[in-house]
């Protein structure tokens, strides 16, 4: 297939393809981080993860409309504010959901699957009633469109670079919060032994609520960022949910490092295969590989050491 092309052409295509893999990697990490916290740390199977992401996307859309109407001069910077608002909106909704629904189900983790699936249907219909059934177009500031020209033949999409930087920042922030901060220690303590954590004076209910809120908030930021690369509609969240679970489960539920490693291996496999065969075939092979590895290693790539 490469006979007709010059070495230079091929070289630049491989560079761009490598970059495409990195972008896919960041997208996977970004969408899986929130779930990794909720599923990994709390054991809650949050099927409504995609809908929390889309809430972030809708917040971005509303912010963009507000800026266009009232502050057109600051439009080029609205995206940063939108992401912060998305974080708080999704986080607040997450905390509310935890209080109303999830906290009653901690002892029945499988039931959270059903409950959050119902929640996702309700949220979808709510978005449809509030924002309309049609997709909305989020207008981006001019500087976020287009591509960076690295050399004459190598071009890198700006939104891809943006997502990559954002992913790195958020991952570092999450790692810091979970592993360095006092609150992160409390979270891990509650995960390991709820009763003992309570006995030493940790307010476990509060920890649960904030953990769930943090996971949902990060989902909101991810949704906000994905308005650059995907669609915003009532059911758009469904587009991400399968890949998200795939990354988290493959990585090993309770490990942040596992999520990153799994996102990296899945994205690289998929993006390389996509280049040599058709898109749907690449997906099939990637999924087959994941299924095969999970059969050999059901706990995922990285798992906490547990006594058997």
């Amino acid at each position: 297939m490469f006979g007709d092309y010059s070495i230079g052409d091929l070289g630049s295509i491989f560079v761009m393809q490598g970059f495409a893999g990195l972008i896919l990697f960041s997208v996977y990490v970004l969408m899986a981080l929130g779930l990794a916290i909720i599923f990994g740390q709390m054991g809650v199977i949050n099927m409504a993860h995609g809908e929390f992401m889309i809430l972030g996307a809708y917040v971005t859309w509303m912010t963009s409309n507000l800026f266009q109407a009232y502050l057109p001069s600051l439009f080029s910077g609205y995206f940063f504010l939108a992401m912060i608002l998305a974080f708080f909106a999704s986080g607040a909704l997450g905390m509310l959901v935890e209080w109303v629904l999830i906290r009653h189900l901690y002892k029945r983790p499988l039931d959270t699957l059903l409950a959050t699936w119902g929640l996702s249907l309700m949220l979808q219909q709510a978005y449809r009633s509030v924002f309309g059934a049609r997709e909305v177009g989020v207008e981006l500031p001019q500087w976020m469109l287009g591509s960076l020209r690295v050399t004459d033949s190598i071009e890198v999409p700006i939104n891809g670079v943006f997502v990559m930087c954002l992913t790195v920042l958020i991952t570092i922030a999450v790692a810091y919060v979970l592993y360095m901060s006092r609150w992160g220690r409390q979270v891990r303590a509650v995960v390991q032994n709820r009763i003992m954590a309570g006995a030493v004076g940790i307010n476990t209910e509060k920890v649960d609520r904030y953990t769930f809120g943090l996971g949902c908030g990060i989902a909101g930021v991810a949704g906000s960022a994905f308005t650059m690369i995907g669609s915003t509609g009532p059911t758009s969240g469904q587009l991400y949910i399968v890949d998200t679970f795939l990354v988290v489960v493959f990585g090993g539920a309770a490990s942040l490092l596992g999520t990153i490693a799994s996102a990296f291996s899945i994205s690289q496999t998929q993006s390389t295969l996509e280049f040599f065969m058709s898109g749907s075939m690449a997906k099939v092979l990637t999924l087959l590989a994941v299924v095969g590895i999970l059969m050999l290693r059901p706990q995922g790539l990285f798992a906490l050491k547990v006594r058997k």
């Binding site: 071009e155 996509e274 690449a282």
Partner: protein, 419 residues
């Protein structure tokens, strides 16, 4: 201005004049409108449909919830508008149209279930509905078994024909061939890159397109790629496009993937004002989600654009916006859905009956001169004769008409040499 002229124009004045003068000769000169004598129900309805002396019931069957609500909302709106207009103009055979709306909920078995409910319980005289091919395939055996009449609005892959269905959208050859011919001639295009979502419509359409490119246009298909429905990552295929440098990118990506594809194409630095792209899956509806700035410059091959410059269309667009809001846009399928109730009305009047068998036979040759897309006529294979048009997307989300076929294109659901 004479009194005679005023009578025709202003109805309150007309009434006053009538009361004042009780002018018997004037009455005979009034437009007949709703005064028309309705034929007896027993004569026009011999099969027990929901037809009374004053009303006739039809069904609307689309997804108002679920994934497909994005696309089907426009069709529901158009059908309601058409029914309202028909009623305002005196109804069908002197009867007002009443509709029962059912929700297919983007779930194909639900579509079949609801179609059965409409036909068996509600005894509707016709169903305006379905959108995806999957939903139509689910409903088809039901309308055939219970002998209903379905008016189906979406452009689709063809390879189907039924006594009980009128296809008001284009089948694949009507949509694709003229567009390919145009772009080959206009742009001197020789190499094509196909990219579509992975299900029956894009695959069948691309099969037809490939045969046409290779056998008729003597061009070359340099790539043919399919992505699962809902895929949101297209960077790899975009790199392949950059590598193969095709004259034309030919796309039938649908749904949320569509938005992702154009956003990433734009981000990858592919400039649609230089790189020709021909799509058969993007209407004004989709551009709402994609954003005009991401797709400006692309060509779309359709039979209708909201911007068409004719009197029918101007009246249609303003009525649509008046009913559904200034910001709503009208895509190809929405217009095709609008044709459904009108074609049904015209057919009923031609047949002089609501009976499904009579309508099925009478459909052939029914003409609708008031169609927003211009004149259409039903072919004996129950598809429509209609024009193929190419439009170019503009920044504001509308299309600029670039080309239209001189004559109506004959529908050919089973094209020879393309299978």
């Amino acid at each position: 201005m004479s009194d005679e002229a005023n009578k025709g124009l202003l109805s309150p004045l007309r009434r006053k004049l009538l009361m004042g003068m009780a002018a018997v000769p004037a009455i005979t000169m009034l437009p007949r409108g709703s005064f028309a004598q309705a034929p007896a129900t027993s004569a026009v309805n011999t099969t027990g449909l929901a037809v009374t002396d004053t009303e006739v019931t039809v069904g609307i069957l689309h997804s108002a919830t679920g994934t497909m609500a994005i696309s089907e909302t426009g069709s529901i709106q158009a059908e309601k508008l058409a029914i309202e207009q028909i009623n305002a103009a005196g109804g069908v055979l002197g009867r007002k149209i009443k509709f029962i709306q059912e929700d297919g909920a983007s779930d194909w078995p639900t579509f079949a279930e609801k179609a059965k409910k409409l036909l068996v319980n509600d005894k509707v005289a016709a169903i305006m509905g379905c959108w995806t091919s999957a939903s139509r395939k689910a409903v088809l055996p039901v309308v055939e078994q219970y002998n209903g009449m379905l008016y189906y609005p979406t452009f689709y892959e063809g390879l189907e024909q039924s006594k009980n269905v009128i296809y008001t959208g284009q089948e694949a050859t009507q949509q694709i061939l003229a567009g390919l011919n145009w772009i080959a001639k206009e742009k001197g295009a020789k190499s094509f890159f196909f990219i579509g979502s992975d299900y029956i419509w894009p695959r069948t359409s691309n099969k037809i397109a490939r045969k046409h490119v290779e056998n008729v246009l003597k061009g070359k298909v340099v790539g043919e790629e399919y992505y699962a429905l809902g895929s949101t990552q297209f960077n790899s295929v975009i790199n392949k496009i950059k590598l193969t440098k095709p004259d034309v990118i030919f796309t039938d990506v649908v749904g949320g993937s569509n938005v992702a594809f154009y956003k990433q194409l734009k981000a990858a630095g592919i400039d649609l004002s230089k790189q020709a792209l021909l799509t058969i899956s993007v209407t004004e509806d989709e551009i709402d989600g994609i954003g005009g700035e991401n797709i400006a410059g692309a060509y779309a091959c359709m039979k209708y654009f909201q911007s068409l410059d004719n009197a029918n269309n101007k009246a249609f667009v303003s009525a649509f916006k008046k009913m559904w809001g200034e910001k709503t846009v009208i895509g190809d399928v929405t217009q095709a859905a609008y044709l459904g109730p009108w074609l049904w009305k015209l057919t009923v009047e031609k047949a002089g009956s609501f009976d499904v068998d009579k309508i099925a036979t009478a459909s052939t040759g029914v003409e609708f001169k008031g169609a927003p897309e211009g004149y259409v006529r039903i072919h004996e294979n129950h598809h429509l004769w209609s024009k193929t048009r190419v439009g170019r997307a503009k920044l504001d989300g509308q299309f600029e008409l670039i080309y239209e076929t001189a004559d109506l294109v004959e529908p050919d659901p089973f094209p020879k040499g393309y299978q």
